[in-house]
Amino acid sequence: MGLKEELLTLKEEITKNLEKASNIQTLEEVRTQFLGKKGRLKHILKTLGKLSPEERKEIGKLANSIKEYIEQQIKEKENILKNLLLQEKLQKEKVDITLPSFWLDIGASHPVISTLVEISEIFLSMGFSIEEGPEIEFEEYNFDMLNIPKDHPARDMQDTFFLNNGMLLRTHTSPVQIRTMLKRNPPIAMIAPGRVYRKDADPTHSPMFHQIEGLMIDKDITFKDLKGILKIFLENVFGKDIPIRFRPSYFPFTEPSAEVDIGCTVCKGKGCRVCKGTGWLEILGCGMVDPNVFKAVDIDPEEYTGFAFGLGIERITMLKYQIGDIRILFENNMNFNNQFKGLR
């Protein structure tokens, strides 16, 4: 057998061996066997010197191309084997990605506080400031200075909790109006969110609940401005197309006074149990600050006008989440609270 044949046989052999190599180790063995210092190829090349220069040139060329071919084949095989190894490792690290996660979950928001914050932020972004006052209030701030004198039937509208220290639990957030007007001069644009109390407990009344009071005073604030601000507010809470109506009403601290209804959010105005068939939901009370209130805080009603409004947060919350009984809001049963995880 000539050298040429020998080389070609070698090539065939190697190709077969490479195919058989199943891991990096056997591949290395193949490499040493054929290409190593004592390998078969070296062995063949050693006999090259016996050949004529032409033959040497031809066989040398062939040997080189076979060497390159083998190296190439080994490299490829190596890549395949490495990749197999990697795949095996990855396979071993397989996990069930659908297992429950292991991290703190977000706690639930209380829906009332969530509504209160949402509404407050609407007014904050309009430029209103947030004011506050104590929940244990002076009778004077809660009633008298708001044009609700003693023995006025309007005091009956709000069943008051009286305290043993001669004060009371504020029945509305309106005393914060008084406090703010006593502290600063107009212009004023404020809201006062907070807890208020009335002696009443049934599916629609809670002895403690939340209100937001609003007040805007300047030299030319009108009833139409009140309508504008409330329209912006209601549209931002209930959506752009919410129908709104203003019904004249009575509050001692505003004149004229109005109650604001929105189209029933449940039946869209057709009439249902929630809106008692009227298609409307009473949502807030408002009006132009009564001159007597201005006088009580030493603001000249000839110079300034202003509007005030007040709304119950629980009512809006109950409408929003279709909660029928107010009392569940304060039971703090986690089975209720945890339904409100995603709220802000």
Partner: protein, 803 residues
Amino acid sequence: MKVPYSWIKEFLDIEIPADKVAEKLNTTGIEAVSYKFGQYIPGLTTVKVLSVKKHPEKERLLITKVTDGKKEYQVITADQNIKEGQVVILAKTGAKLPNREIKPVTFGNIQSQGMFVSLQELGIEESSEGIFVLDEDTPIGIDASKLLGLGEEDIIEIEITPNRADVLSVKGLAREIGAIFDIKRKEKYPIVSIMQEIIPQIQLKTEKTYRYRGVIIKNIEVTQSPLNIRLRLIKAGQKPINNIVDATNYILLQEGQPLHAFDLDKIQGQIIVRQAKDGETITTLDREERKLKKTDIVIADEEKPIAIAGIIGGENTKVDQNTKNILLEAAVFDSISIRKTAKRLAVSTESSYRFERGVDIENLPNAQDKAVELILKTTQGKAVGEKDIYPKPYTPKLIHLREKTVLKVLGEVILKEESKEILERLEIPTEITDEGTVSTIPAFRKFDLEREIDLVEEVGRLKGFDNFAPSYPKLSLEGFKKSEEFKFEVQARDFLRANGLTEVVNYTFVGEQIYKTLGIEPPKIRIVNYLLKSQSIMRDNLAVSLIQTFQENIKYQNKDISIFEISSAFFPKHEEIRIGILVHGNIIKGYKYTQGENQFSTSVTWDFLKLKGLIESYIHSLGIFDILYKKTNIPYLHPFHSAQIDIQNQNIGYIGKIHPEKAQKLEIPENTYVAELKLRYIPRDLKEEPLKKGYLYTLYKQKDTVIFKELPKYPSVKRDLAFLVDENLELDKLIKALKESSKLIDKVELFDVYFVENGKKSIAFSVEFRASDRSLSDEEVNQEVENIIKQLQKSFKGLTLRV
């Protein structure tokens, strides 16, 4: 107030459907609904009673024969008042009453061909004493449903705001509806002749009575009122009693003027209107004996009080079946006085309701005369005398309404001519002036129309608030302030929720029991008129509420709990906004992988250090880092598992494990942890400064700003140091001392703590040394370590270095 629409039509020529009227009333300021009176019931007919006899077997039953003019019926009834000649309503077999269908029934072998009905059975009265008896001249054989107006007659029910007493009558409501629809109101004035034969002797001895008019009617007979009067009263939600009482009620409803009829023969001598004497008593028509005070007004004769003025009559002068002569009273009393008395005695009558809100003093004689006219229509008799005491006749107030005020308040141009037109529709006489209008306020509106602004409202509401286009005010930024307190709380809330705590809202009032169980003094501020004793104390901490919330949740089988509340605690002079936290059980439950193969379930459970970590992390989020924990002795906390939290020597809260003994009493698990942080101080006194010491918000507002430090230029050298110390040594003291022991110490990290024998514990730190101006050599650091140890040994007895 319920008003049959047909009654309103006596004052207005109006053809607008009742539901449209109600809708318009709503949008102009009177809450109103309209509905049909009862429900049409087929199979009801009027019948005359021909005979009544006892049932032969059934003791309490009567067998009657009745006729509808065409046919005779045998009807069995239990109503003992049925009499021959009466006309009653028969529900024939097949008639469907609201609660049942009439079927032929036999009582002891005798069949009843139908049933006589009461108003209760027709569904138009809550409870009836017997069957409804019609007038004897009522035609028989006619549809009784139609006769009563069942399902046909419109009722308008209104609710007034406290300022609108003028609408508390059929006439007043008609006036309002007339103004809304621009229909002129009509009125039929009474035609009565009152002789001046026997003039009532009346003395007015109190200033709290503004008018008192008495009319004597003689030789009357007390009977049943005619059907039309009775039906009106029934439709207005009242019970007919007799022709005299019904007449007073009828006029009260129609005119808004309360009236009272006394049996004249039971009055001893003169009528004296006076203040009551303290302790004086009177038994009122509801058979209650009532003790009076000198602030009450009474109507008295020469011996005794005979009525509590404006509220309720006395039993002693009541009109009964034998009454022959009456004194009919019409008066106007002081509303505040009536209100106080009615409230104290807890009586509210149609009369007191109206007096409290205001009665039209000028309409008094007109209304009273209508009552006299009505009485004399139902019975023989004669009005023989009258006396009217009216010390200060009404002088109407003039109110100017300027066009510019209307514009300033409503933002809408309403010309004076239009204002005049609107006000006159309300029956308020009005003239044009240069600036606007001037109105003469009639007595029926004197209670709510006192100022220019009140007229602005009248004009505005009748124009319709919905007709004003909204405008958008320019907000003046003068005096703008950012509302940081609000954001501070919102951020706290966001932080706590992000750390897995759920927000709760508790009542701020609690009961005494929880304080007793926790072994702490209940606060002094109490609700006097509480709803429940368990909701009568204003809490002075949040833990009392959070613990009760946990107890409730255990009942709901919610065993793991992580909750917080941001709310108020109450103190004699101030309030505090606090964060309250209560945790127990698992924080996280889930699975863990090992070696990429196995997964096993695992959990993280709340303990002292984790809650401490949460609180610390929150305080760090405020940019406050220097927090100190001190031993505390809060009675409901574990004495060695609790701490007060101090920042800059100010106590801002506490953290701890519930005392095991209390946990047992409370029936909550032992590993329950609570914490409270004082956020803000809320003063009650306006002049008091809210930024007080001892509150996180104050510390947050007053903290130093962060100043950037240059990054280190030279490398640090690390050394691990382990000390043996007394096992009772509080670690933070050692850490603090170590940090302060050398200027070269850059960082101290605790990496191991364990207890060894002989009352010692081993504490290992990794300490980094660094100088700002050079690289430190090993020798230099070794030298420094030796110094440090010597220094620490001085402050901590028995401290040794472990090797």
